[in-house]
């Protein structure tokens, strides 16, 4: 990652309107997502939890996109690899651990859903499910509500490239296109849908599908978080200006197996994986900050130590926290009193 920009001494992020502080915060969130993810993998291998699904190497772009959003007004519909995204929105490692251990205090689902199934009204994260791509029309519904109420709110919805082949992708995009709704459709193209490589998922480019819906589609390198930020900021501006949706295809690579239940070497080579691991943008971004004098090895070590403590504490908390009580396991099928859901 090298500096561009015509004015000397203006860093890339400054040229994009990001303060040094924000650039550093971005890095911190990326690192936190990475460290949480690594710990979750360890916990699964140690048999402490049943299942983890990783977002490793996708976090830098997940974090970068949130920096272009308005956390007070926008709505977020992430998918299961979006740890970088939800951490940037304010979900804590403790909350993620409560979800990983499926405990009652988990704000996402009280330990009912699998980890990676995010949801928190407080954080404007819309509850998600396992059947892929259903969240795409939901995001359009949030944008429609915003338009109807005259609110300047954008909805961001994220999904994999495999999932973009579901009918709901098409129906949602087309609906948003017709009504010029403020939605950012984010396809995180990591090359695989479980074992199926992209060339068996689609013969086109996902970004190009936007042409048929009458709005811009942009392909961006997921290993260049500042470029990701730039593209999202533009999409956000378009959305707020009433110019309608944008489809953004983030090119990335799934360096882990699909989930802890998957053996990826049954369908791809270690060489291929290693090649992509080498492209990880996390150390590159660290170097970028270091070169600018915004980051140092001491800061890194201090941050790592702080994160290790935070993650240790969260792990312990999550592990020891109680499961939802049996008496409550079947509650909330319907509202328990007529006033529920009357709010907003």
């Amino acid at each position: 990652m090298t500096q561009t920009g015509s004015v000397k001494n203006v860093s890339r992020h400054a040229a994009l309107g990001l303060s040094d502080e924000r650039a550093v915060q971005m890095y911190e969130k990326m690192l936190l997502a990475r460290k949480f993810d690594e710990r979750a993998q360890l916990l699964q291998r140690a048999g402490k939890v049943n299942f983890h699904i990783s977002g490793i190497t996708q976090e830098p772009s997940q974090v970068a996109m949130t920096f272009a959003m308005d956390l007070e007004k926008d709505w977020f519909l992430p998918y299961y690899r979006d740890y970088g995204l939800v951490l940037s929105l304010g979900m804590t490692v403790k909350e993620l651990m409560l979800s990983l251990f499926a405990k009652e205090e988990d704000p996402n689902s009280a330990g009912r859903q699998m980890p990676g199934h995010f949801g928190s009204k407080r954080l404007r994260i819309v509850t998600g499910s396992s059947p892929v791509t259903t969240q795409v029309p939901h995001a359009v519904g949030f944008a429609l509500a915003a338009k109807m109420r005259g609110e300047s709110s954008v909805s961001l919805v994220s999904f994999g490239e495999g999932s973009s082949n579901q009918g709901d992708f098409h129906e949602g995009c087309n609906f948003a296109g017709v009504m010029k709704l403020p939605v950012i459709f984010v396809c995180q193209n990591n090359g695989y849908a479980i074992s199926v490589p992209f060339r068996k998922q689609s013969a086109g480019r996902i970004a190009d599908r936007a042409i048929g819906y009458g709005f811009p589609g942009i392909r961006v390198d997921g290993n260049d978080p500042l470029e990701v930020y730039r593209v999202f900021r533009e999409a956000h501006e378009r959305a707020l200006a009433g110019e309608g949706p944008t489809l953004i295809e983030i090119m990335t690579y799934r360096v882990t197996p699909h989930s802890t239940s998957d053996n990826d070497l049954a369908y791809r080579t270690k060489d291929e994986v290693d090649e992509h691991k080498a492209l990880d943008s996390l150390p590159v971004f660290r170097q970028y900050l270091t070169d600018l004098g915004l980051w140092s090895d001491e800061q890194e070590n201090e941050l790592l130590a702080r994160m290790r403590r935070e993650i240790d504490e969260a792990t312990q908390y999550g592990e020891n926290a109680p499961f939802q009580a049996i008496e409550d396991a079947f509650r909330h099928v319907y509202a328990e009193n007529a006033d529920e859901g009357k709010g907003q």
Binding site: S109, T127, P131, G141, N174, V333, G341
Partner: protein
């Protein structure tokens, strides 16, 4: 009280509630200028504008999915499916999403959504404009399902559905639209979801059902009363999910002989659950086996008139079955 057509009662409920609550809007295919293919939403776009009587692209999964999103965002959408036959593309959104949003988020999120869809045959609509899809959605916890048979209930249940904090499937019978008229209060009232209604009292046999076939039962009951002295007790379930267990058991206890009727095909229909509830709770009060008179187990009714007639229930079929049960 003014007498009103069933379809007008539905339209009035939407109109009244849209006036009362700015969060309420209607979306679906042709619901705008055209006012729906049956005319159910006529006038709404003129009164409330293009956004609140919203013509959508031809895509039912999006209609449901966008409505779900809007409902989660705090709106009160009424999604119209042009025919219930065409709601199957939206099944995943209805069953995987709407029904599970409250439960999966442990009450953090909710989905106060109404999906309206016309059911039933008898309009020469053939296989795909006549179906009763109840059994597909029945038995999915998290959904409520109503199916009114009168104009009064149509308005009152639709108002209750719109105000309900959970997703409600509202199955309106397209044959009832203009055939059924009854007294409907002008102002605001609701019919509670989950409560059945005794349409007619009698001591000889009990008929339990919902939607259009009940009108055949009522006609048959009058004739049987006059001609045979047989008095039928008729219960309109009105809500098919959750079923009104107490109402069902009370109606059965009254006579000890029960005939369950619906237009949806027999196997796996709502009637099976009603029979199962009765045989679970009231076995020793029964004076006859539990009978069901329902649509035949074929994929859907043919469009040719004899085929359609052969498929559908009518007064004579009801009368014969009711008399047979009375004589048991």
């Amino acid at each position: 009280m003014p007498v009103m057509e069933y379809i007008e009662a539905i339209r009035t409920a939407m109109k009244d509630e849209m006036e009362r609550d700015s969060r309420v809007f209607v979306l679906g295919e042709d619901v705008g200028l055209k006012g729906g293919v049956f005319g159910t939403t006529k006038g709404l776009q003129q009164q409330f504008g293009e956004m609140r009587s919203l013509d959508t692209p031809l895509a039912e999964s999006a209609i449901a999915g966008v409505a779900i999103g809007a409902a989660m965002a705090g709106m009160r959408p009424i999604a119209e499916m042009q025919y219930s036959d065409f709601m199957f593309p939206a099944t995943n959104q209805i069953i995987s999403e709407a029904a599970k949003i409250r439960y999966r988020s442990n009450n953090d999120w909710d989905c106060p959504l109404v999906i309206r869809a016309p059911i039933g045959g008898g309009v020469f609509g053939g296989l795909y404009h006549s179906q009763c899809p109840e059994s597909v959605f029945f038995g999915t916890p998290g959904l409520k399902i109503v199916a009114p048979s009168t104009a009064y209930d149509a308005k009152g249940l639709l108002l209750a559905a719109i105000r309900d904090p959970d997703p409600v499937l509202f199955f309106e019978n397209k044959k009832c639209y203009r055939l059924i008229s009854d007294e409907v209060p002008e102002g605001d009232y609701t019919v509670p979801i989950g409560k059945s209604k005794v349409m007619r009292e009698g001591d000889d046999i009990t008929v339990i059902g919902y939607s259009m076939p009940l009108h055949f039962a009522m006609q048959a009951a009058e004739e049987l009363s006059r001609e045979e002295g047989v008095e039928a007790h008729i219960l309109d379930l009105r809500t098919i999910q959750p079923l009104d267990r107490e109402g069902i058991l009370e109606a059965v206890s009254r006579t000890g002989k029960v005939l369950i009727v619906h237009e949806d095909n027999k196997t796996g229909g709502v009637g099976a659950e009603v029979a199962a509830i009765i045989s679970e709770e009231l076995l020793y009060d029964l004076d006859a086996p539990i009978r069901r008179l329902c649509g035949p187990d074929v994929p859907a009714m043919p469009i040719n008139p004899p085929g359609e007639k052969h498929f559908l229930l009518n007064k004579d079929k009801l009368k014969a079955a009711m008399l047979d049960l009375a004589r048991f």
